[in-house]
Symmetry: C2
Subunit: 242 residues, 2 copies
């Protein structure tokens, strides 16, 4: 396993915001990455643990979540291949939330100190890493708005729009309206602050309205304009063009 293509999605994503030189890429590729497969639902980080590494999602989907006192779960973000789930670990010594696999995943893990050192040596990498954490924060802000001030149809529409926009940005040569979408209805509910039952009924109305088709881990967006309008989705907060 000497191929380093696993970094390409990361580089493509970073290059939307910074200008990586070949030396930058070589330096990143030179980090002591360890690739590891994870099974579905397995925990990558647990709240309260000391942080030691940063994790890049090479393939599959993962999510961050927190549990509240009665055991309910709130998903805080979804991550796709090419994204880090825990760059904040570089400065924060203890994890404040859980990170879990949504599907089977392959992670590339690197000691956080190695990333920190590289950031000192390579200002462009430093900029890319910080930008990553700032874009994450912007998405968290939008999620506060989504669960705080939108109704069920709007919340789910917004979630689907966001993931579609991110998947599209990650894979511009795709058709832009069909995606692998492995979230169960219970997971959609945990993203949106709803129950699984109500999520089910809401998805049915979105289907009946001709906005989406969603089954067996496949999402088709049938009417992007109306879905985005319904979900009040405006992609500025994704900062895809910095």
């Amino acid at each position: 396993m000497d191929d380093n293509n696993f970094l390409d999605p990361l580089f493509r994503r970073w290059q939307r915001g910074v200008a990586l030189t070949p030396e930058d890429k070589r330096a990143v590729a030179g980090l002591p990455w360890v690739r590891r497969p994870f099974s579905r639902d397995s925990y990558i980080v647990r709240e309260g643990e000391p942080t030691t590494v940063c994790s890049l999602l090479v393939s599959g989907f993962a999510f961050r979540q927190k549990l509240v006192s009665d055991g309910a779960r709130q998903i805080i973000s979804i991550h796709i291949a090419g994204e880090f789930m825990d760059l904040q670990n570089i400065l924060l010594e203890v994890a404040d939330h859980n990170v879990q696999c949504l599907t089977r995943c392959v992670l590339a893990v690197v000691p956080k100190n190695a990333v920190a050192d590289l950031m000192e040596a390579r200002p462009t990498v430093k900029r890319a890493v910080w930008l990553d954490t700032l874009q994450d924060a912007s998405i968290f802000r939008e999620w506060v708005v989504n669960v705080g001030r939108r109704d069920a149809k709007e919340r789910i529409a917004h979630l689907l729009c966001e993931l579609a926009a991110r998947l599209k940005a990650a894979n511009p040569q795709g058709d832009g309206s069909n995606f692998d979408f492995p979230l169960t209805q219970e997971q959609i509910a945990d993203c949106t602050g709803l129950t699984a039952v109500h999520t089910n009924r809401t998805l049915q109305t979105l289907r009946k309205d001709g906005l989406i088709s969603l089954s067996s881990s496949r999402l088709s967006i049938l009417d992007w304009d109306r879905l985005a309008e319904l979900g009040d989705f405006h992609e500025r907060y994704l900062h895809h063009a910095v």
Copy 2:
């Protein structure tokens, strides 16, 4: 106005996480700060505007918010004296949310490029600035959980605990259970994803239960343990001890 004491709350806060030297402080004090008073409710940043400055809150309270399509408002965070509201501006070119004064405020404004340059020259300042944005992001995550998975009493209890904990950390010589708390019930509602009417009724039950007393901009926490228990409040996410 040559006194530079206005930076002291910022330095105290930053020194919870990094070791600022006298030279670091002098360098920060040497930035081209411009102090400006703002009246209650006035906008400091508007969504969609290009970013040019960073704003430090010298006195008063401010908040970040986003508006959804039907005009409803979601408050995303509350800020107290000694905090920056928009350090993410250093890398993000367009504001993705609004920043507004809660009370009359004094801001100290500095061109974002000046901060960026100082970060290059002073690694400790760079660390402090990044840490600030990471702590902000952690608070956003907790707010997603708060509005997504807690009921009205819990949400408000959690909000009050968070602000009390932050005010206490900013002013350790205070008595720790009485605070200036200038949020109207409508603003509390916009923080928690509730309506003003339901916030009113919920506050009444918190008072009746002997947990708090809240009136005329003054909050007293009468039973911290029970309030924190009710709100499922655990301050790890504040990263006060990094």
